[in-house]
Symmetry: C2
Subunit: 388 residues, 2 copies
């Protein structure tokens, strides 16, 4: 394993993205070349910008159609979607929820927002996501199954759910993970925030979890400004999610009555209007992103000490954020590349700091995290916009 040459890395990226004159090249900027304008104007002209309006319904239908899930519920963002998905799945205060340590902080925050406890497990290099074999071995060691489900022998808490996250759009091994969840009576909820347009064995991610979530943040493959969705094949849970995210109001011509503690998490119609226009362009976006990843792959073929990460087997990835992996975990080398690419106007970023290292989560239960730790110091994201 030789140390890669930072100059060569910069040149390789530049050869792919052909940086234009001024300004930095973003990691992922949105592309509005469709009907965004027309649909937003329709909203403003009709004054239906808020919670009533046809675009929310249409956006939900488009999401369900595209992903193949029975029901989609549009909400303000992915964090809110995950909180409600957990709640609807039955996760309650004091439960432990298994999540990767290598994920965006929102995965853990949503667990905490439910009153539950994140329990960190390791990732694998093959998918950059949860390692099903390691999870199985770990559960064998720490968990017992009784009539009520799965219990952590060490803490005494119930373990109720597992949230695999499809890192940078690359699907985890969903079949193997589903088997582990079934064996240990755990509910799987897919954090598909990054994987709209990513398929596992020909089926869209988000269809293995009891419920799953998507994100349409400004840096995602499609954006609604800010937004997210819950998708599910369980219509009753989907209806409940819709009800809870819309203040749990009982429909009535004028009466204001509510039958649950509700949330104000619905996506405004104006944001859904942008979402509809973006969904129309999704297939084109995915083609462009795949072509970009192919160009990167070629450009990095001859560079030693680093490789361009490609989709796991059995999967077709959206290549949301393209990934370089240093052969050797070396934070100094990684930071040198980050510093010099950013200085050169090529925005790059490392993996998230492993969540178990943040002081808020330091006392949360955690398995061996050696692979995640290795990946944290090896991983670099490079510019991935549709427009490149």
């Amino acid at each position: 394993m030789s140390q890669p040459d930072t100059d060569k890395i910069i040149s390789a990226i530049q050869s792919v993205i052909h940086p234009q004159k001024e300004g930095a090249v973003a990691l992922h900027e949105p592309c509005f070349n469709g009907n965004e304008w027309q649909y937003v104007k329709d909203c403003i002209d009709s004054t239906w910008v808020s919670y009533v309006g046809k675009y929310v319904d249409r956006f939900e239908e488009m999401l369900a159609d595209y992903t193949g899930a029975r029901k989609a519920v549009a909400v303000v963002n992915g964090t809110a979607a995950l909180q409600i998905a957990l709640k609807v799945a039955g996760v309650i205060s004091g439960n432990e929820v298994i999540i990767p340590a290598l994920t965006f902080v929102a995965t853990a925050n949503a667990v905490i927002h439910c009153g539950a406890i994140p329990h960190f497990v390791d990732s694998e290099e093959k998918t950059l996501g949860l390692d099903p074999l390691k999870l199985k071995d770990y559960l064998k060691e720490i968990a017992i199954i009784d009539a009520n489900g799965c219990k952590n022998k060490k803490t005494g808490n119930r373990i109720t759910a597992v949230i695999p996250m499809h890192t940078f759009g690359h699907p985890v091994e969903l079949d193997a993970l589903s088997a582990v969840c079934e064996e240990y009576k755990l509910i799987m909820i897919e954090d598909a925030a990054e994987s709209l347009g990513s398929f596992y064995k020909g089926k869209h991610t988000g269809n293995w979890g009891k419920l799953s979530i998507l994100s349409f943040n400004g840096n995602k493959t499609i954006t609604t400004g800010g937004g997210g969705a819950i998708i599910t094949n369980d219509e009753d849970l989907g209806k409940l999610a819709k009800h809870l995210t819309t203040t749990a109001k009982i429909p009535h011509r004028w009466e204001f009555s509510h039958d649950h503690i509700g949330y104000n998490y619905r996506l405004p119609n104006i944001n859904a209007a942008i979402g509809c226009a973006q969904m129309e362009q999704l297939p084109g976006f995915l083609e462009k992103k795949r072509a970009l990843s192919t160009r990167y792959q070629k450009a990095f073929q001859t560079i030693k000490g680093i490789r361009f990460y490609t989709e796991p087997s059995n999967s077709k990835s959206n290549y949301w954020l393209n990934v370089l992996l240093l052969d050797k975990a070396d934070i100094k080398q990684r930071d040198d590349i980050l510093e010099r690419t950013n200085d050169a106007g090529i925005l790059t970023r490392p993996a998230w700091i492993l969540l178990n290292k943040l002081h808020m989560f330091k006392n949360c239960p955690a398995a061996d995290l050696s692979i995640a730790q290795d990946l944290e110091f090896r991983l670099i994201n490079i510019p991935s916009s549709v427009t490149l």
Copy 2:
């Protein structure tokens, strides 16, 4: 007290609003006659629709300038704003928070979302909001003050905050309430969701609470599609609120580190763009709403058994939703008016069902609520749009 004649009520409303040919007259629909279009187009053209962008900063400055508060933090909606305001003010799990029973369910939900317990107290007819005298007498009976603050003698819980809500835009008696809060070491947080543009003793509502919240839902005086804000004169708390609502990320060129359990509650730039355009029109909106209320007042002068509610003394109200009050609490008469006005295409609605009656809040502590109960059966909201 005579029973009002429903036909006369319908005629009086019609004489004011001059209903146009087709379609029902909404309770409160938005008005987009300003720069909404231009600012939204600017967002889409620049691709800055999401969390980075100039309109969020500008909207927050406009809110702070207009209300006179030192700091405004734009968020996804009023419920999220109230949850974070409570959290930042120090309300913790198991605390009791005093709120009116006569309010929208979001006030209580936000308390629950903090892990705290809503404690319902009565309203007064003069302001339609919390009755400071009755609150004082009630606290004398149930509360003790010790070194750590205020404690409920009956439940043993800490009572930490009071949330007055400015019902339909009409300010509560803020001076008297502030005095009670000071005496009982309670933090006041104003739920000013409905009172943007309402002033108490010449100062904008929201300046008495340690923190206060606004809402820009589609039915409010101004709208951002969905949105809200925290306002405060405490800059440190304002900064903390901004930090917590933006995932508590520590600023860094590329590193993803976070120092608190955070929330994804920031308002997208595209919604803030609409907010900027709406704020520019706010003075004009308020003039029109005041003129409408004057017309209603005249039209109802001669109708017996019902009166048009006018702003409390010391206050200048935004007349967000205009209010009729039956002389006598009579749910049958109220529902007859609601039914017949709605049938006639004039959208009207009653007060919210008192929150203590909803099954989720049935076991929450509650004071005598006789005035709120009386108001629930007497109150009817009538069309109040700027465009009328």
